[in-house]
Subunit: 272 residues, 2 copies
DNA sequence: CAGTGGTCTAGACCACTGG
DNA sequence: CAGTGGTCTAGACCACTGC
């Protein structure tokens, strides 16, 4: 393919492909990327298939050769697109088996987004967390919550409060805010009836896949109510972990504030 | 190249190449990798050249074509090796210019390992940090420090204590422990005379490049001395950030305990 | 054994940098 | 303009999985 911006990636095989908005090679104002390599466009198409639900959580996507045929590109180009999605943890490659849609329900990565680790050993060695749903309320988004979730202040949101305990010791107190629309029908009972990571439930019941998140971490002192729920004396310093979780296309779908007791655990991070 | 484990990657061109220790294809006991792809071996050779000092911090390494010729492999294989090193932030690719040895002295990534961010804006907007070296002592490693640095308890180490302030507000109190050998000659005066990231000084003066690190984060209450140095009242919760930083080959080279004031800043982390 | 992802090659051409 | 990294292809073969 000589590729004067991909004659073959046309509407018939790739209905919604977004071709480079400007002529290739012409730098546009102020650093707008005037060139999008083929594999990036393929990546975009794969992303669409993921977002649209064409491929379900945990299911295999078509093989590289099939995708190459579908998009009329070489296997290597598809590989590069899949490679990036695998690095971002949206897809999982398994040699000899295929490429699968990443999910939060797998045993190995149950706590993909939870960086809290016991002082000795790993979370798994403490056995499963004991989850206690305290409540699940429907209310109107405060200005702060609305800003995080990119909705209008006053829009309906669900607020979930829960406590996680390890080995019987309450360790994490969490408040979650979810946009009411995508999570219509979520109740405290439904949450209590589910045994597994919450994000797995979101995938299975609401088709919402959390794909990445940002956390803001601070040291704080809990208020009296928080002390009670975590069963710690006033004046105990806690880690405040404010998380904003995103689905595809950088859409924020959950705001979460966690309070972590860090006398027997720590938040583990790797720097590169 | 037909490659029945790389006849061409021989001693003459790649003096220290470690060939797959076992015959390819024969799985050995308990999951030991019995197969090492060519590009991984090339990666190992590049790593050696980095570690040996053949290529200095910030300097360009040979072009892909040159390396391909040197190792007698295709450009694609060299590319894949470099790709991984670039992902790990050991190398930096610059299109049209070359591939460079990553360094901590560059403006853009000055604070590569510092995840503290002001509530509004970024660290750069606050101007440069004011660094105050409190002291730099030579002492014997405690059991804990020795365990972290993988040396013997009682071995000589340097302990550095300093305070970082932003906009005149003391925000970070840090204690560092360094093995005395590689850092022979480091003094408080030398540290005070240097204007820039400490890791940049380590590169320039001691040839030690920090390549990755692990952090353990907790919420703690400072002791009276720490309160004094940070000018905060007793009872102020602080983020305790214990960092273990590594050079090449997973060699630990620095243990660091930081106390972060998080009323105007937060520790920012991204999850994937 | 067929099917999947993983490695490796050789070659063409494109995009970016700097002299 | 030459030199660098970046993209894309086509094809061969290897390693792993499961039937």
């Amino acid at each position: 393919m000589t590729n004067a911006r991909n004659p073959s990636l046309d509407a018939s095989v790739a209905p919604t492909v977004v071709d480079a908005p400007l002529a290739a090679g012409l730098p546009s104002v102020l650093g707008t990327p005037a060139f999008s390599p083929l594999y990036q466009q393929i990546k975009g198409l794969l992303l669409q298939s993921l977002q649209s639900g064409e491929w379900k959580s945990g299911a295999a996507i078509p093989s590289e050769l099939e995708l190459a045929a579908r998009y009329r590109v070489s296997q290597g180009t598809v590989r590069k697109a899949i490679d990036e999605l695998a690095v971002e943890n949206l897809l999982v490659r398994r040699q000899g088996k295929g490429t699968f849609v990443a999910t939060h329900s797998e045993q190995q990565v149950q706590y993909r987004f939870l960086k809290l680790v016991p002082d000795s050993g790993d979370l798994a060695s403490e056995g499963p967390a004991q989850r206690t749903i305290i409540d699940c309320k429907r209310l109107r988004a405060s200005a702060e919550v609305a800003r995080g979730l990119a909705i209008r202040s006053g829009d309906a949101v669900l607020q979930v409060r829960r406590v996680l305990a390890f080995g019987g010791v309450p360790t994490i107190l969490e408040d979650l805010w979810l946009p009411a629309g995508p999570f219509k029908g979520l109740t405290a009972e439904r949450l209590r009836g589910y045994d597994g990571p919450m994000y797995a439930l979101f995938e299975a019941e609401f088709g919402v896949r959390m794909v990445r998140a940002e956390e803001k971490i601070r040291a704080i002192l809990p208020d009296p109510q928080q002390c009670g729920l975590l069963a710690v004396p006033a004046g105990t310093p806690l880690l405040s972990v404010e998380r904003l979780a995103y689905t595809y296309k950088d859409t924020p779908m959950e705001l979460r504030q966690g309070l972590y007791l860090t006398d027997k655990h720590f938040y583990r991070n790797e720097l590169h």
